[in-house]
């Protein structure tokens, strides 16, 4: 049974902070709580009425008084009796040996909510605002309109639309330094939307990188007996692979938009793929790699293929 109702010891005892689902040590005993024995480790499922503290405690984090004050403000006992979601840290008291938590005479108010209800309650926590900013380098022009980001730089122009995310993008100028920044906000977001903020910024970072430095992915041919014969056709936009594992089948791979491929001159059996958009470049290398999978054989032994050896940029910086 997973519980919702929780109350606090408001005459200032000391105890251990834990969250539902925590495992306690062997001899930490919860007063009045419901514990399940899971392979010898007790797991906190429910914490109910707290009684007076007895005995020395082991891992006190802070007193109930401070905890309550931190959550609700001082002198606000009535707030302490509100429902708290299971995400809020709960407070249990360790009893050194006096009462077993599983003793029915000591259990307080039982919760009668089903597990499914409590699970959906657990998923409802919404953070009012989470935001993150990112510095924009000079030399790139960025336009943000309606979740479409357009980046322009020395190597060209890239756009990406983030309409599938529920985030606010805005360009702001930092107060002291005067530099421009990209700010991403998530209002009342769940855990997943808050996580999406940083990924959106990473994607924009990749756009900026692509437009200033470009992306260069290098692949090497690996073969044990049959030399892989590759020829670049169609003006650096597609590649034909012959004699892979001695097969008669000719594999042709077209590069995606904006990606060029060439055979490296100095290095034997190397392909170099260049482009501005990291998604397209990496997807092109994946297409080449996947065309050269070995079928019906032990792949630990037949290691032939074309593998990505290096992921870097076109413009090298010393």
């Amino acid at each position: 049974m997973v519980g919702r109702r929780v109350s606090y010891n408001w005459w200032g005892g000391e105890g251990v902070l834990c969250v539902a689902g925590d495992s306690l040590g062997e001899d930490t005993i919860c007063s009045g709580g419901e514990l399940t024995a899971k392979g010898g480790q007790k797991e906190v499922m429910l914490v109910v009425m707290l009684d007076e503290m007895v005995g020395a405690m082991r891992r006190a984090i802070f007193t109930a008084q401070q905890y309550r004050e931190q959550l609700f403000g001082p002198n606000n006992i009535s707030r302490a009796l509100h429902d708290i979601t299971l995400n809020t840290p709960l407070y249990i008291s360790p009893f050194q040996g006096f009462f077993s938590a599983l003793d029915p005479s000591r259990t307080g108010t039982h919760s009668t909510h089903t597990e499914r209800e409590s699970k959906s309650r657990r998923e409802k926590m919404k953070t009012i605002l989470s935001s993150e900013t990112m510095d924009l380098p000079d030399g790139v022009k960025i336009k943000v309109k309606a979740k479409m980001i357009e980046v322009e730089g020395p190597r060209g122009k890239l756009t990406r639309d983030f309409k599938h995310l529920n985030l606010d993008f805005q360009l702001i100028t930092d107060e002291e330094t005067g530099k421009r920044k990209l700010k991403v906000d998530a209002w009342f977001g769940s855990r997943k939307t808050t996580a999406a903020i940083r990924t959106a910024l990473s994607h924009v970072g990749n756009l900026i990188n692509g437009v200033t430095k470009g992306y260069r992915y290098k692949m090497r041919f690996v073969y044990a007996h049959f030399p892989i014969n590759a020829s670049i056709t169609n003006g650096n936009k597609s590649i034909e692979i012959r004699n892979f594992l001695g097969e008669k089948k000719v594999r042709k791979v077209d590069m995606l938009d904006g990606v060029t491929i060439l055979r490296s001159e100095k290095v034997k059996d190397e392909l170099v793929l260049d482009g501005n958009d990291i998604e397209l470049v990496s997807r092109s290398t994946a297409l080449i790699n996947q065309k050269c999978h070995v079928k019906n054989k032990d792949i630990r032994k037949f290691l032939d293929g074309i593998y990505v050896s290096e992921k870097g940029t076109i413009v090298e910086e010393e």
Partner: protein
């Protein structure tokens, strides 16, 4: 796209649902994620769901949960009523109220005024047309 009107202590809001429909209230405290403590000079301080409030541009300078006297003084100092009646939103509401409260004679007078205005506009238009045609 960023938000400009925030829920904060001192934000003036318009009630858009319920018994106090159409009143201007001041957000005086935030109770939890969905509710605010709200106060106005002519009502008892009470809680309201944010969904019942439409935020305005006006904000006054008060501390959390002020006494009624301080609230009224702050509202006078910021001239909430004046700003509201000058703002386009406030003016539109006043016009809507006036229109809803017309009686039949008023509507008759309104009709005559509209016809007269349309006549004057058409005369000017005819003059301009004659000039361009000539």
């Amino acid at each position: 796209m960023p938000f400009k009107r925030y829920v904060e202590i001192g934000r003036v809001a318009l009630v858009n649902y319920g018994k106090e429909y159409g009143q201007l209230v001041v957000i005086v405290d935030v109770i939890d994620q969905n509710r605010a403590l709200v106060d106005a000079p002519d009502m008892v301080r009470s809680q309201m769901n944010f969904k019942r409030l439409s935020l305005t541009d006006i904000k006054i300078d008060i501390k959390r949960v002020p006494k009624k006297k301080t609230l009224i003084a702050a509202m006078e100092a910021a001239d909430v009523k004046g700003k509201w009646e000058k703002s386009s939103w406030g003016r539109k509401l006043i016009v809507q109220k006036r229109r809803a409260s017309l009686n039949d004679f008023d509507r008759f007078k309104l009709m005559l005024a509209k016809i007269k205005k349309a006549g004057v506009v058409r005369q000017e238009l005819a003059k301009l047309k004659k000039e361009t045609a000539a």
